[in-house]
Amino acid sequence: MRVKRFIPLAAFALLALLLFKGLSIDPTALPAARLGQPFPDFSQPELMTEEIIGASALRPRPALVNVWATWCYSCRVEHPYLLTLAEQGVPIYGLNYKDDSEKARQWLAELGDPYRLNIADGDGTVGLDLGVYGAPETYVLGPDGVILHRHVGVLDEAVFERDISQWFTTSARVAQAGSVEGGE
């Protein structure tokens, strides 16, 4: 009889816990379906050279694959940080998603080019195979070509240090980062 009295309290506590946990869940976060799988193969022109490339061109690894477009405002926001990362020796490949190649080349000429190469994905087929649903998105490609992580939205230093830097703690990056800081 005594125990029964506490059932409503226990039920309330359980519900409160559940709802409290719900507060911290981002409802727009989507699990990436391609995690743990190799980068889907493709056959698209490279943005600058217009040479047809496939997934094997994305070397060296580990690397970042950054989905961007000139119509995407947030891409302009994260662009300076991509330049910083590239300077630190992190290989970044671009997926120029549903964009006009001429405009994209102009953008890189104006703002600087952090990309080792760019997949020109004008009709978004590579993006679709990858499960992209907007720009910017950034994928981490492991040493064996497997997709390890996806970040949706602007990539900045806080996000990189928290979620991504673990795959790039090579001595090269640290040494280069040191020299960049020293040079400033």
């Binding site: 409802p27 989507l30 990436a32 379906a33 978004g124 679709l128 499960g131 649903y133 907007g134």
Partner: protein, 150 residues
């Protein structure tokens, strides 16, 4: 009244459906297109299906859906294609797996729990039956009732 009716019509999801024309080679494909485009969920605008959404990604998925239907793919093949890229999230009726098990089974679980609760409630009552009246009490009750009734 008319204004309310207008508002209701505007609020219904079919009124918001995107207007696009696809030429299907058979009416069967067209009806499958309608079913699947309402079953598939837009990854960008999360509480709309791809039939209703204006998001670019939803348009892309409608094009893919149309092309795959015309290419003779089965419903299962098309759903698999979408799930491989966007996860079970992309379906409004996801397959039962470890992640969606709770979603599918919680109604049954709640029903069973409720059933136990209800059974417990009624059994408790039968354990404490109303005490029988003694002969004197019964007579007293009858007298009271007779006084009340004309």
């Amino acid at each position: 009244m008319g204004r309310l009716l207008c508002a209701l019509i505007l609020m219904s999801s079919s009124a918001w459906a995107v207007i696009e024309t696809y030429e299907f080679s058979s009416p069967d494909l067209a009806s499958r297109y309608h079913l699947l485009s309402q079953e598939l969920r837009c990854p960008k605008c999360q509480n709309q299906n791809i039939a209703d959404s204006n998001a670019p990604i939803a348009r892309d998925l409608r094009v893919v859906l149309y092309e795959q239907l015309e290419a003779g793919q089965s419903d299962a093949q098309i759903l698999d294609f979408m799930v491989a890229r966007y996860g079970q999230f992309v379906r409004y009726r996801p397959e039962v797996d470890r992640q969606t098990a709770l979603l599918w089974w919680s109604p049954v679980l709640l029903l069973v729990l409720g059933g136990f609760g209800l059974a417990g409630h009624f059994r408790k009552k039968s354990y404490h039956p109303e005490p029988e009246l003694t002969a004197a009490e019964r007579e007293h009750v009858n007298r009271l009732l007779e006084d009340r009734l004309p």
